[in-house]
């Protein structure tokens, strides 16, 4: 019984892990915590759904999602974010909240509240495990988490672009003096974030539901995973996201606690902070 819920939790765990990793990636590269990550992905997913129902091949729909998400992410990063680059971290994050509201409003206006389902070809393939079915889509999502973490870690630590990104996130002014092309490096970071938002958007729309409000504010539980990763470690963020998802799913077993299980990400994050605060890791705490 518990095992079947653990397997089930892998699905929502992948959801939290994907969003969390997406958030931390951009944060490590630009210092901006992107509240619009979910909304950008949702916009891509809605466009993909429209293209798919219009009769075009599925691949065209996915490409649409990627292009739309990347374009809107690039637009924010190139046009709006530089104006806020001198402000403190929280204000820059609040700026992305403004962008998220714009996207959310547009989605609500353009697509209304008709119930929609975003299907992927991997939905039909499944494995029977411990009395429950694990669809290929969930396995794909988990694989993508690993892929993103590995790929971006490699990029940040082994490539010149990654080095420039980390330098930029640390100190924008000094990086400019050093000759790093600030604008183009930041733009690359936002493009990478946009691509990951597009991929995540399609997967989340499939795993959760294709609804603007839900997908946009999925960033809030995802932030719990990011906190557990210390806003820096991608591996820890991904692991935390999956763990939170599994715990949340397993709480379904106890009827007294079950209606409150959506609070799992928040409770886990708060416990983790209390523990981390007690162990006083100065570098994390004073960011």
């Amino acid at each position: 019984m518990l095992l079947s819920f653990i397997v089930s939790g892998l699905g929502v765990g992948a959801v939290y892990a994907l969003s969390g990793v997406g958030l931390v990636v951009l944060y490590r590269a630009t210092g901006v915590l992107n509240f619009a990550f979910g909304a950008t992905g949702a916009l891509g997913a809605f466009c993909a759904h429209t293209v798919a129902t219009a009769g075009y091949p599925v691949v065209a729909a996915w490409m649409t999602a990627l292009v739309v998400a990347t374009a809107s992410s690039y637009f924010y990063g190139r046009v709006i974010a530089p104006s806020l680059s001198t402000r403190d971290l929280v204000v820059r994050a609040v700026g992305t909240l403004g962008f998220a509201l714009i996207l959310l409003g547009f989605i609500g206006w353009a697509w209304g509240d008709t119930p929609r389902r975003l299907s992927l070809p991997t939905d039909g393939i499944y494995f029977d495990l411990f009395g429950t079915r694990l669809t290929m889509t969930r396995i794909l999502a988990l694989a993508l988490v690993f892929g993103m973490v590995a790929g971006i870690n490699f990029m940040l630590s082994r490539t010149r672009l990654g080095l420039e990104m980390r330098s930029l996130a640390d100190n924008r002014g000094l990086s400019a003096i050093l000759g790093i092309r600030v604008v183009s490096v930041e733009a690359s970071a936002w493009i990478i974030s946009g691509i990951s938002a597009g991929i995540c958007g399609v997967l989340l729309a499939n795993l959760v539901r294709l609804q603007g409000l839900q997908l946009t504010f999925l960033v809030i539980p995802a932030i719990a995973a990011a906190i557990l990763g210390g806003l820096s470690s991608l591996v820890a963020t991904a692991a935390a996201g999956v763990a939170i998802g599994i715990v949340e799913a397993c709480l379904s077993i106890w009827p007294a606690v079950a209606p409150y299980r959506t609070a799992t990400p928040f409770v886990v994050a708060l416990i983790a902070v209390a523990v981390m605060g007690a162990t006083a890791n100065r570098r994390i705490l004073t960011r």
Binding site: D88, V94, W109, A224, A263, F266, T286
Partner: protein, 347 residues
Amino acid sequence: MSVVELVAPPGESLVVQRPSLARFWNLILIPTLVIGSACIVALGANGYWISSLTSAAAIALAASGAGLLYGQLGLVSLCQYSLLGVGGWVALRLGFAFELAFEVNLLAAGLVSAGVGLLCGLPALRLRGLYLALVTLMLAGGFQVVINACGFPDGGPGFLGRADATPRIMMARPAIALSNQGYFIYSSVVLSLGLMIVELHRRTKPGRAWALIRAGETTALAAGVNLVRYKAWAFSLAGFLAGVAGALLAGNVGQLDGRAFPASESLSLFALTVVGGVYNWIGAVFTGLLLRAVVSLLTDLRVDGNIAMALFGAALLHSLIVAPSGIAGLIVGLFDRISSRIVNRQP
């Protein structure tokens, strides 16, 4: 104002101004402006606007707490709206359980929220900046789930005070302010009292301690400032203001709904606090107006809710970029420029 000339190196003159009672000028300005404009508005405004502006006054009170934390200490609290919910819950529960005066409910709500705010502030003893903001956001998220499940009291029995079979009871308003206009003026009086409390703090010892803590914690420690006490004081005060605001809101509508307290509301409250301006008391008033009066205007004009949301986001972005000190900063800056021009013109 007394001026003392010190012995100075040649070629320079040093003038020291001793702080005088003039720095408390705002304590007269605030109630005059706030209550005065409230009375003028109450004479002419229709029912729709009286109701909206009463909500705006309550939100302004909560925003002053958030602005205090951010402006004075650089600490971000993204659970201020949830603390408002806590205050509302306490006010409703006490209001239905006992026949106490509204003011007692107001104070009790403020005190309980102050306590909860203090608990929220415990992480602040070690955390700063974005990390603290995110932790408070987690608290707001947790509150969202809990309040959805428990609901707000509406006159029923038990600890949660929810009536399941009978019609909901509305919270009683203060005896001196039963009408809508009366309650609006009452709210503006409470708002100006709250703003005055914040202003008093800023101009006296706590304000100096906070400024020193913001300048650098090591510096503050060296100067003998008790970090824990003053940070805790700030969080408690912010919580108190949010709690009182929640009680005002509960009295305005008569009841509160669990679905109106998602974490995103706390995010919006903080964002609009920054837009309104955190360095001046009038910023909080602007925040209240933006969050309630502007939204009411858009609803009144029958602007589609989704378009209104998008416009809101665009305005938020625009204000953040164009006005770093918020709208209050723009207006105060304007006044300063005008008054310095006038001063400079004098021979």
